[in-house]
Amino acid sequence: MRRHLLTLLVTATILVPVGPARASGDSCEPGWSLDFAAKPGCANIPVLVPGNDTRANLLLLLADRHGAPAPTGPVPRPTLDWPEFRDLFDGKPDAEAPADYASGEGSRCLSNEGGEQAFAAAVNSAEGLGETERRSLVEARAGLRPSCAEATSQAPSEGGAPSVASPQGQAFAAYLRAAKAFYAGRFEEAAAGFADLASNRDPWLSETSTYMVARTALNRMQVGAYDEYGTFKGAAAVDPGRAREAAAGIDGYLDQYPGGRYAASARGLLRRVEWLSGRVEGLTARYAALMAEPPGQRGMTDGALADEFDNKAFPTLTPVQTRDPVVLAVLDLMALRKPSPGETQPPRPDLAAQREAFAAQPDLYGYLEAAFAFYGDNDPRAVIRAIPDDTRRRGGDHLWFSRQFLRGLALEAVGDRNARGFWKELVPAAARPLDRATAELALATNAGNGGAVDELFAGGSPLANPAIRAMLLLHAAGPDLLRARATDGTASPRERQVALYTLLRKELSHGLYADFLSDLPRAPVDAPTDGPVEVDPLGEGVVPLGLFARGKTTGEIGCPTLPDTVASLARDAGDARGRLCLAEWMRLNELDPNRSLARPAKGTLGGGPSGFRERALARSDLYAAVIADRSAPAEARAYALYRAVKCYEPSGYNVCGPKDAPKAERARWYDALKREFPGSRWARGLRYWW
C-alpha cells in the first residue's frame, strides 16, 4: 500500500489499520520512470526497490521462496500497478478460495450458504437417522435464513423445528438450534449448544461443533468492538479475557483437527483475534508462518496473503517486532524511500542488528546492504564493488535480477560508459517477460535519452517491447529514423503507422513543409480519419493517418485541403492564409499540441533530446505570427486576433499551445480586433476576452 492521498490520510490512523483505500476520484497510471527511490505512485517493477508497493516486494520474495513458476501472462508494459502485478503472479483468482474471514467484515453469516449444503451432505451420510428425519432436518436447515447483522437477539423462533426421534436425529436438531442462536447473536446459548455436541460420535457433527465453539467465542469477542459506522474502535474495546477464550478455542480445534475441513478458516480466525487484540507481533508471526508455506498448502495465493498482511499487520509493524527475513526486507526497503517534499526521512533501520535473522539468506542480506548504500548513503560505487556482473546466468530468481538491476542503476549513477553495454547483456538474461520488459526500459532510457535512439532500432537490437518502442518513436526519434521505421517492411504494421503519423505531425509543427509533402504519399489513400489523435504507446487502436489528406479543413474561413495549404506554405512559409489554414486543420481535428503533448520528464523514457531540434509550433504561435505580420491581409489579421482570444475560452487557460500569454496581451488582442477591424464579423462576434 502506501500509495496515495487517502493512504496518506489513513496510514496514521491507529484505530483501523485499513488497506490501500484510494480516494474516491483518484486515478493514476504506471509511468516510464526508472526512479524507484521515491514514494510509490502506482508503478511496480519486478525488482526489490524502495518505491515498489510493499506488497509487490513481498510478492517477489515469496515467489523466490517457493520457487514459484515465472508468470507467463502478456506484459503490456514494464511497470504495473499493484492489482496488475498481483494478478500476473497469482493468475486468475481461485473461485474455490475460502471466504476471507480475516479481512472481511467478519459477518457471522459468511458461511451460511455453504453451510446449508454441507449440513445436507452430513445429514444424508450420517448413521442412525431415518429417511423422514433426514428430510425434516434438511428442510429445517434450509429454513434457517439468518439476518446476520441484527444487533440484538430475537426471541427464539420455534417454528420449523425438525421432527426427530432418534438420538442422532436429536443431536442434529440440537446443532440447528445452536446455529440459529449463533446467527441470531445469542452467543452464550450457541456456545453451550455447540459444546454439548463437540464429542458426538458423528464425525461431521463433532468437528463442526468444535469449530463453531471457537467461532462463537470470536463473535462474542467482537460485540461492542465497532462503532455505528462499522469502524473498529481499537484493541481497547476488546475484552482480553474473551480474546484469550477465542484463541484457545481455535487452537483447540486446530490441535484436534490439524488438517480439518475448517483448518484454513480457523487460522484466518486466529489472525482476526490477534488483529482485534492489537497484537502486531503475534499476528506477524502467524503471517510469517503462512509465508513459509507454498500457496497450495496454506489455501491462499501469495497475492491474497500480501494484501491481507499489508492491511492487517504491516501498518504499525516495526523491525524490532519480527525476525522473519522476508518481512524485515520489506520493512527495510520501505524505510529507504526518499521522503516527499515536506516530509522527514524515517529513521534508518539498524541493518547490522538484523544480520542474524538473515543467517539463512545471506544473499538477501547482501542485497539489502547494497540497497542501503545506494538509496541511503548515495554510494553507488559500493554497489558496484559488492555486486559483480552476473548477466551470464540463466534462470536466476527475482533476487538475482534485483541484484543485477541495482548494479545497472549504480553504473548509471556513476556515469559509467559501460552502463548501456551492461543493460544489453541483462536484457537477454532476463527470461521472465516482466523482467525482460524492465531491463528493456533501462536500456531504452539509457540509449534513447543518451542520443543513441537509432541504435535501438538497428538490426539485432534486443529492444522488443512495443510500448517502449512506441514511446521512443513518439518522443525521441528524429525524422530520418521515423521515415526509416515507417517504411521498414520488417516492422509491425502498428509501428510503421505510429512512425509515419509522428513524422507527418512533427514535420508540420516544425515547419518542414516540403518534407511533409514528399512523405505524405507514404500514407495509404484510404487510411482512417477517425481514431485517437494522440497515439497511446500502449494501445493497439487505429492510427488516424487519413487526417493529413482528408481531415476537416473548411472551417470558418473556407480553407482548401491540408496538402494544398502545406504546398502554399512550402512556397512561402510566411503566407498568412496558409498559416491560418494550418491552424484551422489543427483546430478542427482537435490536434492542438497542448500540454498533453509535453515531453516526458527529464530522466524518464523519452525525456532526453528530441530528434527534432527546434520547438514545435502550436496553433497559438501561428496566430501570433499572423498578428505580428503587418503585411498580412486585414481579414487574416482579424481572424488571427479573434482566434488568439478564443484560445482562452472559457477557462482562461490556453488550449492552443503550451504557454499562456499574459493577460495584458490577451486584452491587447481583443482591443486591436475591436479598434482596427470594427466592421469585421470576427470583431462583431466576440464580446468577451478571457
Binding site: 496518506l8 488497506g19 474516491s24 447483522a149 473498529f232
Partner: protein, 236 residues
C-alpha cells in the same frame, strides 16, 4: 496517461491561488466516510452518509471488504459505496455486494442506495452505462443506484454517453477534486452542467476550496453537496 488525467495534470500544474471559500464540514449535511477515516462530530448532523464498503480490484475483479463490521447508523439515509477498477464483475462480486446490502438493511440502516465509484475516463462512459443498467436489474427494487463522476464528464463527454448514463442511474455525485487537490478551473466545468440530465450533487473535499458558480442552485438537476471527510491535519 488517459486523456482525462492529462487534462487534470496540466490544470494542476497551472493551479494559481484563487480567492475561495473553504469547505467546513459543519455547513453540510451529507458526507462520504471512506475506510480509515474516523467518524467526526459533523456526522451527528448528517442527513445522508456515503460509506465505503469495499473495493473491486484488478482485472481479475477481486472483492475486498473495507469496512470491518456492518454499520448501524440510526435515522440517516445511508448509501453503500463500492469502488471498482473494473466493470467485469464476477458472480462472486455481485453476490458479495448484494449480501452486504441485505446485511446493512437487516442491521436497521435506512439504505437508500448503492453508489459505484469508478474512474470512467470520459471515453468509457458508454460501456459504463451498460454495466450500470445491468447492475440495476440485479438490485432489490427499493435500492437506488448512484455514481461518482469527475466534473470533466459534463465538459467533454460525448452526449450519447451522458444520455445513456442519465437513464441508468438515479444520481451522480460530481467531484471537484482529484486526489487531495481541488481541480483548478472547476468553475468553467460547472458552467456546462446544463448538459447533465441526471440529478447531481457536487462532491467537495473537507477543508478544500469551494466557491459556488453563479446559477448553480438554479440548475434544475442540482441536488446539493456531499463532503468527503478527512482525518484531522495532525494525523496525516
Amino acid at each position: 496517461m488517459t486523456c482525462l488525467a492529462r487534462v487534470l495534470a496540466f490544470l494542476l500544474a497551472l493551479a494559481g491561488p484563487a480567492a475561495a471559500g473553504t469547505v467546513a464540514a459543519g455547513d453540510h449535511d451529507a458526507f462520504w466516510l471512506w475506510a480509515g477515516v474516523r467518524p467526526q462530530p459533523a456526522l451527528a448532523r448528517a442527513e445522508r452518509v456515503y460509506l465505503l464498503q469495499g473495493e473491486v480490484t484488478g482485472r481479475a475483479a477481486r472483492y475486498e471488504a473495507r469496512r470491518p463490521a456492518v454499520p448501524r447508523v440510526a435515522g440517516v439515509e445511508v448509501w453503500m459505496v463500492v469502488r471498482t477498477e473494473t466493470l467485469a464483475w464476477t458472480p462472486e462480486v455481485y453476490a458479495a455486494v448484494l449480501r452486504a446490502l441485505s446485511d446493512w438493511r437487516a442491521a436497521g440502516n435506512r439504505v437508500a442506495g448503492l453508489q459505484i465509484d469508478f474512474d470512467a475516463r470520459t471515453r468509457g462512459l458508454a460501456g459504463y452505462a451498460g454495466f450500470l443498467r445491468d447492475l440495476r436489474t440485479r438490485l432489490p427494487e427499493e435500492t437506488r443506484l448512484g455514481v461518482t463522476g469527475l466534473l470533466d464528464w459534463s465538459a467533454n463527454a460525448d452526449p450519447a454517453g451522458l444520455d445513456a448514463l442519465s437513464g441508468a442511474v438515479d444520481e451522480a455525485v460530481l467531484q471537484i477534486y482529484q486526489g487531495q487537490h481541488v481541480i483548478p478551473g472547476y468553475a468553467a466545468y460547472l458552467r456546462r452542467l446544463g448538459r447533465l440530465r441526471v440529478p447531481f450533487r457536487i462532491g467537495l473535499l473537507q477543508d478544500g476550496e469551494w466557491t459556488p458558480p453563479p446559477g448553480l442552485t438554479a440548475e434544475p438537476m442540482f441536488r446539493g453537496y456531499v463532503v468527503f471527510l478527512r482525518n484531522p491535519v495532525g494525523d496525516r
